[in-house]
Symmetry: C2
Subunit: 376 residues, 2 copies
C-alpha cells in the first residue's frame, strides 16, 4: 500500500505516524528539502509541473495532498494516466475557488451567507449598501489563514484586488459575502471513502485570532442533539454532493439567531481535527489514509469527554520549541505536544498541544498553560 | 534533539511516530536494509563493530537501543567517547546475562525463583533432584521468545548446551531455576530518567504460547491494590538499583501461593507495553524517548478501563498483512492495527492489534477477533 502525498508541510508530516502504524508506505513530493515531512520525502519537485507530478504519482497506488493548490490540469493528467487521486479534480475544483464553492453549496441547498460574484467596484458597493454598509470580500483563490479575506465598508478598500483579478486573465471576479453576525465558529469533519462509507467526528468549536485558528474544543460545548445532527448532516451532504474522498473539513458559523451557515471547506486533514490524534479512537490522519486507500473507516468515539487543542503560533523568539520541553512537560504531564519541525517565525503554525479529560475547565487550562510555554 | 537507535527492528520502528510527534530527530543504525525501521535508517552497519557504532553515535545526542545485544566493549567505547548511552553499559550488563541478572536481583533482596549457577551436569542433576525432579535451564546469553530456555528432568537433556558454554571461553555456566508453579504471568513496565524521575504503567497480565507473548491485558485483572503496589515497587527497586534509564520491563510470576517472583528483565520498550500506544496517555515509545532525553515523563493514566493487545504471529500464509485489512477493519472499527512492515514467516511477530474499552469481555473479544483475520 503506497500513498503519495503532494506537499511536504505539517499535514503530510502528521500522516507519517499513522502510515507507519498501519504499514502504509508513504512517499512525499516536497516543495523543497528540509520541510516538515522530510523523513518521508521521496523527492523534491514542483507540484505545478505535470511531468514532475506524473513521474512521482506513478510510484504509488494513491495520490493525496498536503494542500489544495495542485492545478486542475495536473490533477486531470494524473486521472488520465489511470492514477487514483483522492480527493479528485472535480471535488478539489470546489475547494480551489471560493466562487465555485459558494455556487455549488447553494445548488446543494445548503445554508450559506448571502453572497455574490462581483466584477466591479460598483457591484461591490451595491452589495455593501444592501447589507448594512459592510461586507466580507474574498479573493476566490489562494487565500488561507485569513489571507485574501477582508472586511470592507467600501469597494475602494479592495481596489488593488480588483486590479489583480483583471490581470490574471480568468475573467476575474471577487466573492463578497454578508458580514455574518455569529455567536461562534464551529467545524465539522468527516471522512469519506471512494466506495461511499462516511464517518463523522463530533462537531467542534474553533477560536480564531486574526483569522488564524488558535484553539479547538471537541466536542463543541452545548452541541449535543440538534446542533450536532445538523452539522454532521451538512458535512455529509457536502461530501456526497461533491464526491469528496478523504477528510473533509467544513467550517461553520453558528449565528446569533441560531442558524448554521457554511463558511469554508477544506478537502484534507485540517487544523480543527488535530485534537483527534490524541482524543479520538481514530485520528484524522489515520482516517484520511484509510479513506483514500478505500479501506473501512475507523471508529470516531472520544477518549475523554473533552479534548482541547491549542496551536503554537510563532514559537520562541530565539531557540527551538524543544528548548522549552523541560518546563512545559514537567508541569503538564497529561498534555500531548506535537512539534512540526519548523523554524519559529512570527505567526507561523509550528506545533500544537492537546489535552483530554472529563472536566472541560481543567482540560482548557492544561492545554492553554502548556502551549503558553512555547510562545513568547 | 537527535536520538540514535541501534537496531532496526519493530521496536525502533515504533519509536518513529513518537519521535515525529515530539520533533525528535530519530536515526537508526540498522543491521541491514529493508528492516522495520527503514524509514529512519541513517545507515546500515554491524553493531558489534566499535568503529561503526562510534561513527554513528557521534551524529546524535543520545544513543538507545532496539535490543540488548550490543557488546559491552562497544557500549563502553561510546561512554568513553563522551556519548550519552541509555540504558548504560552497567545496566545493560545485567540484562545481557541471566546469571548476572539473578545475582543482582538477589543482592537487591528481590523475590526470585530458587536458582543456581551450574557448570557441570552433576551440579544440574543435584539441583533438579533438590527441586522435585524438574527445573528450568537457561543459557545466560542470547535467548529470547522462549529460545535458550528448556524445562528438563535430567542434565542429559541439555548436554549440547554444556558443550557450547565450554567452547565460548567465558568459563561458561548455565542458569538453573526452580520450575515455578505460577497462576499467571505479569509484567510491570516503568520508565526512568537519568535524573531519577520514574513513571509506572499499571501491571499487566501476559499470556505466552510456546514461550512467545501472545496477548496482554492491561491492567492485569484482579490486580488493584496490593498486587499493583508490589509489582510497581519491584520494578522501581530494579530501575533504581541497577540504574536503568529508559523503559524497563519486568516479567513476573504470580505463584499459586500468592508470591510475586521476578522472571526476566528487558531494558527497552517491550511487547508487554505495546497496549500503551493506544491505551495510555503516554505510550511506551514516547516515554522511552522522553526518558533517554532526560525530559519530564508523561502521565500513565489509561484511556479506557481495559486494553487488550494481541500479537500477530506468523501472518497470512501468502500475501501481506494489508491484504486482510478490508475484512478486519470493517468488522472491528474500534481496534487499532499495527503493522511492522515485515514479511510473514511462521511464528514471527509481524504486528499487533489493540482494543480498548470499559467492558473486559468485549475488549478481549474485539482484539482476538481482529487479530484472527491476520493469522492462518
Amino acid at each position: 500500500m503506497r500513498v503519495g502525498v503532494i506537499g511536504g508541510g505539517q499535514l503530510a508530516r502528521m500522516m507519517i505516524p499513522a502510515a507507519i502504524e498501519l504499514g502504509v508506505d508513504l512517499r512525499v513530493l516536497a516543495e523543497q528539502s528540509g520541510m516538515s515531512a522530510e523523513i518521508a520525502a521521496e523527492r523534491v519537485g514542483d507540484y505545478t509541473d505535470t511531468a514532475t507530478v506524473l513521474e512521482f504519482a506513478k510510484t504509488v497506488d494513491v495520490v493525496t495532498f498536503d494542500h489544495e493548490h495542485v492545478p486542475q490540469d495536473v490533477l486531470r493528467a494524473m486521472v488520465d494516466a489511470g492514477i487514483a487521486v483522492h480527493p479528485g479534480p472535480d471535488a478539489l475544483a470546489v475547494a480551489q475557488d471560493k466562487l465555485v464553492m459558494r455556487q455549488r453549496l447553494s445548488e446543494l441547498g445548503l445554508p450559506v451567507p448571502d453572497w455574490a460574484r462581483v466584477e466591479t467596484a460598483e457591484e461591490l458597493d451595491a452589495f455593501i449598501s444592501e447589507h448594512g454598509g459592510a461586507a466580507v470580500v474574498k479573493t476566490p483563490r489562494g487565500g488561507y489563514d485569513g489571507k485574501g479575506v477582508r472586511v470592507v465598508h467600501s469597494a475602494a478598500e479592495v481596489a488593488e484586488w480588483f486590479a489583480t483579478i483583471v490581470e490574471d486573465g480568468r475573467q476575474g471576479a471577487l466573492l463578497v459575502e454578508e458580514l455574518v453576525d455569529f455567536r461562534r465558529e464551529l467545524a465539522q469533519l468527516v471522512a469519506r471513502r471512494p466506495s461511499g462509507e462516511i464517518a463523522a467526528w463530533p462537531v467542534v468549536e474553533t477560536l480564531q485570532v486574526g483569522g488564524v485558528c488558535s484553539e479547538v474544543i471537541a466536542p463543541a460545548p452545548r452541541s449535543a442533539g440538534r446542533l450536532a445532527d445538523v452539522a454532521a448532516e451538512v458535512a455529509i451532504t457536502i461530501a456526497e454532493g461533491l464526491g469528496v474522498t478523504g477528510v473533509l473539513a467544513v467550517e461553520l458559523f453558528e449565528t446569533t439567531d441560531d442558524r448554521i451557515l457554511v463558511n469554508e471547506l477544506a478537502m484534507r486533514p485540517h487544523n480543527s481535527g488535530h485534537w483527534s490524534m490524541d482524543g479520538s479512537t481514530t485520528g484524522q490522519f489515520e482516517q484520511h489514509l484509510r479513506a483514500v486507500l478505500d479501506l473501512p473507516l475507523g471508529a470516531t468515539g472520544s477518549h475523554g469527554d473533552w479534548s482541547v487543542m491549542v496551536n503554537v503560533l510563532g514559537g520562541p523568539a530565539e531557540g527551538a520549541l524543544t528548548d522549552r520541553y523541560a518546563e512545559a512537560l514537567a508541569g503538564h504531564p497529561t498534555v500531548k505536544v506535537h512539534n512540526y519541525g519548523k523554524a519559529p517565525r512570527p505567526g507561523r503554525k509550528i506545533g500544537h498541544v492537546t489535552a483530554t479529560g472529563d472536566d472541560l475547565d481543567s482540560v482548557v487550562y492544561e492545554a492553554r498553560a502548556a502551549a503558553a510555554f512555547f510562545q513568547d
